[in-house]
Subunit: 221 residues, 2 copies
DNA sequence: TAGATTGTTAATCGATTAACAATC
DNA sequence: TAGATTGTTAATCGATTAACAATC
């Protein structure tokens, strides 16, 4: 679904703003770990190479979070951003594909302190099916069981970590089974109905964009 | 480095355009695999949920690629886009971190038909160091050796797949050793000089953005 | 109170969309 | 030639930046 269609379904801020919010969250968490209690938009901007005007503007879409003359209480704003982004809930996540990538995702450290709970993995390799993966004992089911299990386990978000040729089929199964969001790690473009949000997490696309800049930087040396 | 600073160093198009170009490339490749020879911007847009005006506008920054009344020759435009994105060269890539993620990346199918050549992995686990990983026999060196090996192997792009707390240090080593681009898989914000381009590939940030839309979609049900 | 920083409005800038002449 | 689609210019829209009154 594109951004315009999305607006029919939710009164969300634009994708750039949402992306920056996740970024700000990372920065505030990092500062908290370093022992800070308060930070101004100016300090935040200088530290992380951001724009202080934009930081304040972005927050202003959601209310007033700072203290004039002082800045932002870090603990407080972390909670506020989490609330805005919907990170105070728990999301059930299922991973299609129990290869290297699927496993790396399943092992991903804590996956945001319990916000995202990986409840199932799917694969079509008979040797993997029926086993449990990793420290969290995530059950691996056959891909055939995906529709049934996704419903049963009330999965909210599906992760597509299968070969590209199977991506659309897996996406269709996830959608049919009622997920609201998909994270697609394959290079394939997948089509979904407009009430499902997808994010593209294809490494290759990102690496190619990097190549564009690297090749142009080198030219100007 | 932010987009404004970048412009000092290269006459690149904006990040949104570069990103869309990688996207178009994927679409054209997919159509080629399906046996198509020609496609119009309109067909492309309908098929992949894009905007045909924008497709033509994006191409126009780089020249004229289509045939009026007909559309685009798919083989031809694939080559053109690859040239624009700098994908006709070979980039030496090194991966810091030989955990699940590092391995998944090293195994990533063909990594764009030889455009990106993974020449080394680095880890600080003594049991991994000295071994070769995977079908491509990628040597695993100790992180201490990173600066030396990166220079020796003429690495262009560094991938950061280590724990977040080590990200900045690894980035510094890569930069010092002369890489032009960094792909950062950790949630840590890394600071680099303005002649190095970084892309953020943190899963968590993407998943959080997805959560924002999912939680808002659900509300309006 | 004086200094600092927020929240917000107005001004600017850039990106997308609309429209159409050029031409295959 | 007629129909189709490009490449490009002009119009619109949205996002960022600048500026400053409000207030801690």
């Amino acid at each position: 679904m594109n951004e315009k269609e999305l607006k029919k379904y939710c009164s969300c801020v634009s994708e750039v703003v949402a992306k920056r919010l996740t970024l700000y969250l990372r920065c505030f968490i990092q500062l908290k770990e370093e022992g800070y209690d308060f930070v101004s938009s100016k300090e935040l901007a200088e530290r992380f190479n951001l724009n202080s005007d934009l930081i304040r503007k972005d927050f202003s879409y959601f209310g007033t979070f700072g203290k004039r003359g002082v800045g932002y209480n870090i603990d407080e704003i972390i909670e506020k951003i989490k609330t805005i982004l919907g990170l105070k809930k728990v999301y059930n996540v299922a991973i299609a594909g129990a290869g290297n990538l699927g496993k790396a995702l399943a092992d991903y450290p804590k996956f945001n302190e319990g916000t995202f709970r990986i409840v199932a993995m799917f694969d079509n390799n008979a040797r993997k099916v029926g086993r449990k993966y990793g420290v969290n004992n995530i059950p691996i089911f056959h891909v055939k069981e995906l529709p049934e299990k996704v419903k049963e386990l009330e999965v909210d978000i599906g992760i597509i970590a299968v070969p590209a040729r199977a991506a659309q089929q897996v996406a269709d199964s996830f959608v049919k089974a009622g997920v609201s969001g998909l994270m697609n790690f394959t290079p394939a473009r997948i089509a979904v109905p407009s009430n499902v949000k997808t994010v593209c997490a294809d490494f290759r696309a990102q690496l190619e964009m990097l190549a564009y800049y690297v090749s142009n930087l080198k030219k100007s040396e």
